[in-house]
Symmetry: C2
Subunit: 353 residues, 2 copies
DNA sequence: CATTGCAACTGTATCGTTACAGATTTTAAA
DNA sequence: TTTAAAATCTGTAACGATACAGTTGCAATG
């Protein structure tokens, strides 16, 4: 019993250059591991001074809880999963979305994990995986459908989530959406203001919720502003640019040729422009166009197109805030947001000298 | 001693609807937990038939190892971290990169975590975080510099990584790069073939490695093909499109106006085009242009620009393969790849009816 | 003085996995 | 038959954190 008295079996000296753990702090403060844990959580049964001391030491040595330990014990992963189609829009909606999300997560303990799936196969796949393995505390999905089985499943299983786009199932859940109805409505307004009367809409694929939003806005505006629709349903913004161009060229060559275009996507707009030109018509003269865009490109390269900017980065931020809010137990109806389209001023040509 | 004989204290009946663990399999097979663990790892001290049996059961009940358990015990995270600047190129290089990486990771146990940082601040920040917390098994970085402190640090600390772009420090490490020297060289060739002689280069920022690659190729080609450089160093592809346009408009108005342009980035090209037009000149007549592009847009909207496609998605795949290779201990010199630029055929105008 | 109540702190068990050091059985060698 | 050597299998401890059920000391109560 020389030096081997062990009053406190709890705390062994810290290994050395290793990463600090609760044990390290316990050793340094002379407290028990449990006490340290509770102190850092600001538990009510720990003395104020003790808490202060623990916090100080923790900060000094740069303690950061081991994620694996927490996750194993509590099931909390501190992970938000962004579920994406591998085939997501060419004109990367993904980039700014990821940036927006990480901007918000940077201030939290959450990490962003990107979980892809092949949309042609099973959209429920990644959701099931997350549910089965407890891979994330919250999920963000896009390409939302009116009756989206992913939403049903996550709701049933109480997995917090937020959707980019709305649903129509009577389930109240967090979402962020762009007001596509308003976009289409305002787009038609602009076109009719320019005297255009025969309008065409390049719409989203019919399975996505915002398809009907956009159509509704379009049709309401046609009525309100006295214009007529030119049918163009056989292609949508999910089709290849080539398919869109060819279809549109054909339309522009026909007797039914429209004089105004509303494009539901920036990349679609590019194909439409090519179609117009392939048919020998001229944008801004024979036909005007309004497009929703996720970036500035069209504005730079085709200033004659009227654009409305959809800020995907903001969407990413809103969605991140929404999932986290849901994880923290906030009621879903307080975690819904709709962003309003804003017309961009046409690119000004330089005016120097 | 009625029914309470406990020969095998190891395996308790599985909880119920809970996720299967090694314990579940142990119970079902009547084996010890250790045996099951080793059987699934194909350890040499487990009987062939036993292994088969365990594997069968595991598959049947859909066993998937608990990541937190593995991580806590072994330190293996099964995470690849993609370290990105929040300010990453507007024309999202990020999207296709993420897609490419996930394509490869989908066939593995690895998850992709996106770790952002503010490039204006500390680029080492995220690397330190990963090292300190053991947040990932491997890292992918971009915006590589000739003397990149991140590469030094990760090499010293034996953290597997791959870089998008090369370094010049004598450290052999995995990388994927686009052959920017060749790009610039071939670009100049095309321009001189069209009789252009006064060429300008919109270059990458000088701190990035591919800046010198591109310059080298540019200058070598000038000599080989007998053309001359028009100086344009005060802006680069990291500057805002507005800054580039204004600077270039000024150049185009001056007596030094070039007749050929090599653009190191697709978005830069857009600003250059605007500059040309703002100066009242015409692309394809007064001046020709070759640009590196990450997508089809320019080709669609400005077919008069000659483009070379840099496939970022492929880069993502290569980088993912490279980090994993490194994690598996493959020698770094076998994990380096360079992709060659290929001229794209100009967009064909439709030819129907 | 015994009892109770409260504040402050702590040990044990556990999450799922694997490293390690046995234990048991079978086979082969002597 | 005895013993050594394989071949298989297994329990314990540990990774770091937290839930839970205490323990301790002290002041207030009766």
């Amino acid at each position: 019993m020389d030096g081997k008295t062990k009053n406190k079996p709890a705390a062994t000296p810290p290994p050395d250059g290793a990463r600090p753990t609760l044990k390290t702090i316990a050793f340094m403060t002379g407290l028990g591991i449990t006490t340290v844990s509770r102190a850092l959580k600001d538990a009510p049964d720990i003395g104020a001074e003790t808490k202060e001391r623990v916090r100080l030491v923790a900060k000094q040595i740069g303690y950061q809880p081991n994620r694996a330990g927490v996750r194993l014990r509590t099931g909390k992963t501190n992970v938000i999963s962004l579920v994406l189609t591998l085939e997501e829009e060419i004109m990367g909606i993904t980039s700014p979305m990821v940036v927006g999300i990480t901007e918000i997560l940077a201030g939290t303990q959450y990490h962003l994990v990107v979980t892809p799936y092949s949309s042609t196969k099973d959209p429920l796949g990644p959701i099931r995986y997350i549910l089965d393995t407890g891979a994330a505390d919250g999920v963000i999905i896009s390409r939302t459908e009116p009756h989206d089985p992913r939403v049903t499943l996550m709701t049933e299983r109480h997995l917090p989530f937020a959707t980019h786009g709305r649903t129509e199932m009577g389930i109240v859940h967090p979402f962020h959406d762009f007001d596509n109805e308003r976009f289409a409505y305002e787009a038609v307004r602009r076109l009719t203001e320019r005297g255009r009367r025969r309008l065409v809409l390049l719409e989203p694929p019919p399975n996505l919720t915002f398809h009907s939003h956009m159509r509704t806005g379009f049709e309401r505006a046609l009525k309100d502003f006295g214009a007529e629709a030119v049918s163009f349903h056989h292609v949508n913004i999910d089709h290849s640019l080539l398919a869109i161009r060819d279809a549109f060229e054909q339309l522009m060559r026909s007797v039914d040729a429209p004089d105004g275009i509303v494009s539901g996507s920036g990349s679609g707009a590019i194909a439409l422009i090519a179609g117009v030109e392939a048919a020998g018509k001229k944008l801004g003269e024979d036909v005007d166009m309004v497009s929703k865009v996720p970036s500035d490109f069209l504005r730079w390269l085709r200033p004659e197109v009227m654009t409305m900017y959809e800020d995907i980065r903001v969407a990413g931020r809103e969605l991140a805030r929404a999932v986290i809010g849901r994880i923290e137990g906030k009621p879903p109806e307080t975690l819904q947001s709709l962003s309003q389209p804003e017309f961009q001023r046409p690119m000004s040509t330089s005016r120097k000298s």
